[in-house]
């Protein structure tokens, strides 16, 4: 693995606010319902848990290379970026505004899914966000997801990501409905050892997701790379019609038939025709993309 260049600035290590500042044009961001508005969770106090003034998500409007976009960034360090009532409502509102304004949206995912302390409200919020995403896409709005945060993108967050028009992922990004601990708790450590980080990345990590067509663009863990990735993702089509859905359904059926009994990511990569699957996790971005470009399953407009 090549060492990171001295100018590289990790997306993974940045805060949600820091990521937005690096992603968007300098000084172009205006926040809606900022922390001074104190729209925080009304539920956490019942559990003697501290609230955060923005409820772990920043929403607003800005410019990306001059182009107006709406943006939302989840803070994975606050309760694992989990989605509660207010957090969810802020994202729903942003997506509804996107539909009205016909303005594209960029979502900086960093979430473990629904916040268990306000689970019912959180589950409802996920449904509302998905509906708002699909309604915006039906109007031609692009909804781009960026996946490279500390908490990954799990549970309901992964369902929202699945409804985006394009996804950008880094090696550090993880995308899965059930997280490692959830699988281990429900199926036992023999099925999945959540402490085996290499296993976690082989089954949910950015390289794996990109290789099986679960994400559209693969970028370095670098704020400038994510900015370039977001711009490229905004050039991709947003179409969400019957033909796209039928093609996606057929692709998922093919994937299941091809890889359904594979026990490990490396086995999936071998079946894709990757010559040295065990070496994939050690490849730098350039070498990985060379292999991935010829071997990966193409993602359709939906995934």
């Amino acid at each position: 693995m090549t060492s990171p260049s001295p100018t590289r600035h990790s997306w993974y290590e940045e805060s949600a606010r820091g990521r937005l500042a690096h992603l968007l044009d300098l000084g172009s961001f205006t926040e809606f319902l900022g922390p001074e508005r104190r729209e925080f969770s009304p539920h956490l106090g019942l559990f003697n848990l501290p609230h955060q003034l923005d409820d772990g998500i920043i929403v607003g409007t800005g410019r990306l290379d001059g182009r107006p976009v709406l943006a939302a960034a989840q803070e994975g360090r606050f309760m694992g970026g989990a989605i509660g009532e207010v957090h969810g409502a802020k994202l729903t509102g942003l997506l509804r505004a996107a539909r009205q304004l016909k303005r594209d949206v960029v979502i900086l995912f960093d979430t473990g899914g629904v916040r268990l302390q306000e689970a019912n409200a959180g589950e409802l919020a996920i449904s509302e966000i998905i509906r708002a995403t699909l309604e915006a896409r039906a109007e031609g709005v692009r909804v781009v997801g960026l996946l490279g945060g500390r908490a990954g993108c799990y549970g309901g967050g992964s369902l929202i990501a699945g409804c985006c028009s394009a996804l950008v992922i880094s090696e550090q990004g993880r995308l899965s409905v059930s997280g490692p601990e959830v699988i281990e708790t429900n199926k036992g450590v023999e099925e999945f050892d959540s402490r085996d980080r290499a296993l976690v990345w082989r089954t949910m990590g950015g390289k794996h997701r990109y290789l099986i067509g679960g994400a559209d663009l693969f970028v370095d863990d670098d704020v400038a790379a994510f900015r370039a990735g977001a711009l490229a993702a905004l050039e991709r089509p947003s179409a969400l019609d019957q033909a796209v859905l039928a093609a996606e359904q057929a692709r998922l059926e093919r994937r299941l038939a091809r890889f359904g009994d594979a026990a490990d990511g490396a086995e999936v990569w071998a079946r894709l025709g990757v010559a040295h699957p065990a070496g994939v996790p050690d490849l730098d971005t350039g070498a990985f993309l060379t292999i991935a470009t010829s071997k990966r399953e193409g993602a359709d407009a939906a995934r």
Binding site: R17, P35, E36, P50, H51, L53, E75, R77, F78
Partner: protein, 104 residues
Amino acid sequence: MENLRYELSSTRPAGGTRAVGLVGVVASGNLEVLLERGAAPDRCVIDIATPAHGFAALWQAVTADFAARMAAGGLRITVNDGGARPDTVALRLAQGVRLMEKPE
């Protein structure tokens, strides 16, 4: 949750023109600090919400030291604590004052 409020004397008024500043996040061993203007120019008002009960004396010492050392006059500060150590609290408060001094 324990809620604490300290109205402290701070002889030097806070610099800069920024209306609002935010530093830190609510995470284990960390805290968020929201800074707003509006207190009297020689006063600094700090509201703290912490899930760790029984540390009022420590909070009082750290905030009084902060208000005496830093140009914090006129600031209204809101702290949401995630169980931060006193040194982390002191650094975040100082970071907040520096942020308010920066041009937007």
